[in-house]
Amino acid sequence: MFNSNPQEIKAFIVTCYLIILVLIVFVVTIVYLYTQKQHTYFKEIEKIKAFHENTILQSQLEIQEQTFQNISREIHDNIGQKLSLAKLSLNAVGINRSDKDNEIMSDSVRILTDAISDLSDLSRSMSAEQILHNGLVSALEYEVAQLRKSGIFKATLITRGNMLYFDRQKELVLFRIVQEAINNIVKHAAASEIFLELDYAGEVLNMSIKDNGKGFFEDIRKHAGIGLLNMKKRAQIIGGELVISTSPGTGTTLMIKLPSQYETNSPNQHHISR
C-alpha cells in the first residue's frame, strides 16, 4: 500500500483532511437540520399557545357577556320593577300629611326616580341588545351621552368615512373595549375631556379614545395593567391591533385598528360626520 513514497504519504494526509471535512460537514448538516426543526417546533408551540390563550379569552368574554346579560335582565325585570312599584306606592299614600312628611315623601320619590333611571342606564349599558340591534355607533353615542349627562366630562364622538358594518360579535368586543377604556379614564385619568373617533378609512376602522388626563409613564404601562393587556388581547381576538400612547401630563390615546377583510359595506352606506 505505502512504499515510503512521499506522494503516497501526501495522499494519505489529504485523505485524512478529507475525512475531517466529511465529518465536519456531517455535524454541520445535523446542526442545521436540527436548528431548522427547532425553529418550526418553536413556531408551532407559539401558535398553539396563542390559540389556547385566544380560546381562554374568548371563553372569558362569553362568560362575562352572559353575566352582564343576567345582571342587566335582573336589574330591568326585577329590581327596576320593584323600585317602580315602591315609587307608585309612595305616590298613592294619602294626602293628609304634614308639610315635613310631604317633603320627606317627595325626596323619597325623587331618590327612587333617580335610582330607577341609574339602574335603567346601567342595565342598558350592560346589555348586548343595544349593540346587536342598533350597531356600534348607536351604542357609543349612548355611552357618550351618559358621560355628558354626568356633568363631569366633556365627551365628543366623531365618525368619519363610509361606515363599515362589522360582525355584531366583533362590534360587541369593540364596544366592551371602549367601555373599559372609559371606565379607566373615569377612575384613574383625572380628565375633563374624552374624545372618541371612528375613522372608516377604506377597509380599515381606526378607532381612537383620547383624554386630557394626567397620563402615565411607559414603564408603568408595561408592568401594570391586566386591564390594558386584556384590551390588547381582545383586540387581537377580533383581528385588530391596539396601541396605547401616553406620557405624564399629556393624556392618553388608545388606538384600535381593525381591518375589515371579511366584512362588506352595508348596501345603504352613508357618510356620517358630527
Binding site: M1, C16, I30, K37, Y41
Partner: protein, 225 residues
C-alpha cells in the same frame, strides 16, 4: 517529518489531555451539573494518565517496542469503549434498542478476544478499530435520535452534544489510520509511521478539546443556576 515536530505535537496533545482532566476536576463537587455528566471526570483522568505515560514513553525510550505500554493501552481500550458507549446510551435511549444492546454486549466479548489476540501478537489495529467503529455507530444513532425527537434543547448549550461530537470526530478520523497501523508499522520506516501516529493522537486531542468545551458549559450553567 522531523523528530522535534513529532515530539512537540505529542506534548501539545498530552497537555490537552491534562487540561481536560483539570477542567473535569472542577465538575467533581458540582451537584447541579446534568446527571449524565456525573462521574465523567473518570474518563479524563484515565485518558490523562495514559496520555502522559504514552508521551513519556515516546520521548524517553523511542526505540523500545513499548510492549508494556501497549498492553496497558489495550486494557484501557476496554475502559474507553465501555465508558463512552454507556455515556452515549445514557444520553440516548440506546439500551432500549435491542440491536444496540446486542452490539454492545457482543462487541464487548469480541473486543476482549481481540485484545487478547492483539496482546499476544503485539498488534494493535483490530481491537482499536473495532471499538472505534462501534462508538462511531453509536454516535450516528445519537444524531439520528436528535433529529427524530422534539427539538427542545439548544444544541450548542448541551454538554452531551459536544462530548458525542468529540467522540464522533475522534473515532471517524482515527478509524482509517488505526485499522492500517499494524500493516504500516511492518511496511514503512519508523520515521514515516509518525504521520499516522500523529493523526490518531490529534484526533484524540480534538476529542478532549470538545470535552473541555462540555465541562466549561456545565460549569457556566451551574453558576447561573
Amino acid at each position: 517529518m522531523s523528530r522535534n515536530f513529532y515530539y512537540t505535537i505529542q506534548i501539545a496533545i498530552c497537555l490537552i489531555f491534562i487540561f481536560s482532566f483539570i477542567f473535569s476536576l472542577r465538575t467533581v463537587r458540582e451537584d447541579l451539573i446534568p446527571s449524565y455528566m456525573k462521574g465523567f471526570y473518570w474518563y479524563s483522568f484515565v485518558a490523562a494518565l495514559i496520555g502522559v505515560s504514552a508521551t513519556v514513553s515516546i520521548i524517553f525510550s523511542p526505540n523500545s517496542s513499548h510492549s508494556i505500554f501497549r498492553t496497558i493501552n489495550m486494557i484501557s481500550l476496554i475502559f474507553h469503549f465501555v465508558f463512552l458507549s454507556l455515556f452515549i446510551f445514557r444520553v440516548t435511549t440506546g439500551f432500549k434498542i435491542i440491536a444496540l444492546k446486542v452490539s454492545f454486549y457482543g462487541g464487548l466479548v469480541i473486543l476482549l478476544m481481540g485484545i487478547s489476540w492483539n496482546i499476544f501478537n503485539n498488534t494493535f489495529s483490530f481491537s482499536f478499530g473495532f471499538a472505534n467503529f462501534l462508538l462511531f455507530i453509536y454516535c450516528i444513532y445519537y444524531y439520528y435520535q436528535l433529529l427524530s425527537e422534539s427539538p427542545r434543547i439548544i444544541l450548542f448549550k448541551e454538554a452531551s452534544f459536544w462530548i458525542i461530537t468529540g467522540i464522533f470526530v475522534c473515532t471517524g478520523l482515527s478509524f482509517a489510520p488505526i485499522v492500517f497501523t499494524d500493516f504500516l508499522v511492518v511496511n514503512l520506516p519508523k520515521k514515516e509511521t509518525r504521520y499516522f501516529d500523529l493523526v490518531i493522537t490529534i484526533s484524540y486531542g480534538i476529542m478532549h478539546l470538545l470535552f473541555i468545551k462540555a465541562y466549561i458549559l456545565c460549569l457556566t450553567q451551574t453558576r447561573r443556576k
